[in-house]
């Protein structure tokens, strides 16, 4: 029997030393993966239609791909900095990652504008329709990731991460890599299929 705590809190149970986050994160990853798997299935089916004429996608997408890959590397640098208890550099790398994420979204917008200016709209061409839809749905997930990065940035600046305790940062990183990975997958689906 331990002494009764003055305040009983809901989510601070001794039985879950690592907190509920790994399982919840795994569930989230599965959900996101299933969503894009369903979209991929739709691409695989729809592209057999006679009207499937691939639209040349704007070259800026390659730049965007590089940007989101770099931002994943920045997040890993932030984790390395957290591991060596460097509060300032943890925050700096996270800020860089988030900035690159914003840059990615801006680049996606440039790609959309380029397509629109070429007269490629959402409706008539199924390949373009998939591009617009998938990049928008993906963009929504990037926004969620930016929220997570912003939250970890705040925690990092407040010195919440220590050399042996930066689980929240790792989880944000996993989600961010997922978002980057999904982008590579979508690009391959739309360019190579």
């Amino acid at each position: 029997m331990t002494a009764a705590p003055a305040v009983i809190r809901a989510s601070r149970d001794p039985n879950a030393p690592h907190g509920p986050y790994p399982v919840g994160l795994a569930g989230l990853v599965v959900t996101v993966a299933m969503l894009f798997a369903a979209f991929t299935a739709a691409v695989v089916v729809r592209r057999t239609g006679a009207d499937w004429v691939p639209v040349p996608l704007p070259p800026v997408l390659w730049l965007n791909t590089g940007v989101i890959l770099l931002s994943s590397i920045a997040v890993e640098r932030a984790r390395a900095a957290a591991r060596s208890a460097d509060v300032r550099r943890t925050g700096d790398w996270l800020a860089a990652a988030a900035l690159l994420g914003v840059l990615f979204l801006g680049g996606q917008f440039v790609a959309w504008s380029a397509l629109v200016s070429q007269g490629v709209l959402l409706g008539p061409n199924p390949h373009a329709a998939f591009f617009y839809m998938l990049s928008a749905v993906h963009g929504a997930h990037v926004l969620g990731g930016l929220g997570a990065l912003g939250w970890t940035l705040r925690r990092a600046r407040a010195g919440a991460y220590q050399a042996d305790r930066y689980t929240g940062l790792t989880h944000a990183a996993i989600y961010w890599h997922l978002v980057g990975g999904v982008w590579l997958w979508l690009l391959a689906t739309l360019l190579l299929l």
Binding site: A10, D13, P20, V23, G27, L35
Partner: protein, 586 residues
């Protein structure tokens, strides 16, 4: 002292993060939605039995639905669509999975709350606007969605396709999107809570089967619902953005050829049923979980084959993800693919038979206490068998070719995902009511409720099978318009009389429910002398469930009839070596 001991009314009852309050919120939201959906079905059944009759009163009560006392054909389809959608997603899912799941999981595993209490509150408050949007869609200029609960395109994708395909359908899609978001948040919460917050000693194989089934149902939901999300996004773009994901070329509406082309409605059907079929098990499995828990308590003996039941649940979960094509045998799929879906579907009967046999085995030589909770569980077990028989004919492609889209299907799925699940909801309510409100429901009224409900629903839904074998199609506004169906019209009258009786019988339940909340006899902590963990805390369970120390679990959930004594049972939290508690004979 607890952290919300001094919380105000709003944080305590409205924007609460307490899993028990949220569970009750879900439950009563489902009750309200059930009142709507049942009312719609009453209007439908009155019309189907007496298509020529005029009901001037209804013209006054529902001016948009009736004209000169007759239900309008386009509104008939809206009512069918909304009845199905609301019952499946906003009544059974909410009461059985979200309601009982929220209330019972932390209590059964020895946790203080869900893993993410705030997310839990968020998921409930996402459901509320979903309900309002769904109900509000009746006020759309051309009425609520009318493309059936499956929302097949092109009817659901082309706003010009007919009344109900306009704004009503868009609102339907938005409401479903909110529902999916909420249900996914809830599912992630359930999975995380069960894996991470079990109290000391509560190994996975000591979990009560209600929690096991909710766990597996949550995994199914998380895996399957994203497919519908994807389909809903594409459908919305087809409707509003001019895309052609699901719309083929050459569609003509109102004399005009639509600009769409190249899409395939079958793609939507695949995506829909990739969710739709697992969703059936998301609903049915928790119903069986509740059945196991109630049988053990009111039969006073351990559940037969606990471990085989758990493995059977896993097998059902895996199979349920790979059989969706059996809803599409007549869609022109290759006979080889159809054969695969047939065989895989029929295979599900094996693990299901394991569950059914284990339930029957649990009743074998049980010392049965005929409480309303057990009565409804006996009903659940019986209807799983009866309804399952019809499923074999629908799973077989050759017989499904004839029965597809007929009232045979309507009868089958009403038995399986209406009667089975509602019976489990009733059983769960009679069983856990003392824990929820600290009072008992009236057992005599409960028995009256059961004996009025069972014959009426069985007659109504079994008769639908015969109607279907006679060739009557679902979604028919006026079956008497067809010469060959006229001799079957008497069956429609039988069905309507029976089901109107069943609807009326639910008033007994409602009165009992509301009356007992305020005036029921006070209940102790463990009125049923049950062994699982939720009965070790006070009734109603206090905020954060237990005092300063969490219970520690020492054994499985069903240790009844221990030491050879019929009345002996050991609660999960009783320390080793403690003498068996003794149940007082009823």
């Amino acid at each position: 002292m607890t952290e919300t001991a001094h919380a105000g009314f709003w944080t305590r009852y409205v924007f609460s993060t307490d899993h028990k309050t949220i569970g009750k919120q879900y439950y009563f939201t489902a009750v309200v939605m059930a009142l709507f959906a049942t009312t719609w079905s009453v209007l439908l059944r009155l019309h189907l039995a007496w298509p020529d009759a005029q009901w001037p009163l209804f013209s006054t009560l529902f001016p948009g639905l009736f004209q000169d006392g007759v239900l309008l054909p386009e509104r008939y389809l809206s009512l069918v669509t909304m009845h199905g959608t609301v019952m499946i997603f906003f009544v059974v899912s909410l009461a059985l999975v979200s309601g009982f799941g929220n209330f019972i999981i932390p209590l059964q595993i020895g946790a203080r709350d869900m893993a993410y209490p705030f997310l839990n509150m968020l998921s409930y408050w996402t459901i509320v606007p979903a309900c309002l949007l769904m109900l509000g869609s009746f006020f759309a200029p051309e009425g609520a969605a009318a493309s059936g609960w499956t929302a097949y395109p092109p009817l659901s994708a082309v706003p010009e396709a007919g009344p109900g395909s306009g704004l009503g359908q868009t609102l339907w899609l938005l409401a479903m999107a909110l529902f999916i978001a909420s249900f996914t948040m809830g599912g992630l919460n359930f999975i995380t809570t069960i894996l991470n917050l079990r109290t000391r000693g509560m190994s996975m194989f000591r979990l009560p089967l209600t929690t096991w089934t909710l766990f597996i149902a949550s995994i199914l939901g998380v895996l399957a619902f994203p497919a519908l999300t994807a389909a809903a996004i594409m459908l919305l773009l087809d409707r509003l953005g001019g895309t052609s994901f699901f719309l083929p070329a050459g569609l003509v509406f109102g004399g005009e050829v639509l600009p769409h082309g190249g899409g395939t409605p079958l793609l939507f059907q695949h995506l829909f049923w990739f969710l739709g079929h697992p969703e059936v098990y998301v609903l049915v499995l928790p119903a069986l979980g509740i059945a196991f828990d109630v049988v053990a308590v009111f039969g006073r003996r351990p559940v037969f084959g606990y471990r085989t039941s758990v493995w059977a649940l896993f097998v059902i979960a895996v199979l349920s993800m790979i059989v969706w094509g059996h809803h599409m045998f007549v869609s022109g799929m290759s006979p080889y693919v159809g054969e695969y879906f047939s065989v895989a579907t029929v295979t599900i009967t094996a693990p299901f038979a394991v569950l059914a046999m284990n339930l029957l085995g649990s009743l074998w030589r049980a010392e049965i206490r005929l409480h309303p909770a057990l009565l409804f569980v006996l009903g659940t077990i019986a209807v799983v068998g009866i309804g399952g028989l019809g499923g074999i004919f629908l799973a077989t492609a050759t017989s499904d070719m004839y029965l597809h889209n007929s009232y045979f299907v309507v009868g089958h799925f009403h038995l399986m995902i209406a009667v089975v699940t509602f019976f489990a909801i009733f059983a769960g309510t009679y069983h856990w009511f003392p824990k929820m409100f600290g009072r008992h429901m009236n057992a005599t009224l409960g028995k009256v409720h059961f004996w009025l409900t069972v014959p009426t629903v069985l007659v109504g839904f079994i008769a639908m099978h015969f109607l279907g074998m006679g060739g009557e199609q679902r979604h028919l506004y006026d079956p008497s318009a067809y010469e060959f169906l006229r001799p079957l019209q008497w069956l429609n009258v039988v069905i309507s009389v029976a089901l109107l009786g069943a609807a009326a019988a639910q008033l007994v339940f409602l009165v009992n429910l509301v009356h007992s909340i305020f005036f029921g006899a006070r209940a102790g902590a463990n009125p049923w002398e049950a062994a699982t963990l939720e009965w070790t805390t006070a009734s109603p369970a206090p905020h954060l469930n237990w005092g300063p120390d969490l219970p520690v679990v020492h054994r499985g959930p069903y240790e009844y009839r221990v030491d050879g004594a019929l009345e002996g049972y050991r609660p999960q939290a009783a320390p080793p070596g403690a003498p068996a508690a003794t149940a007082v004979a009823p």
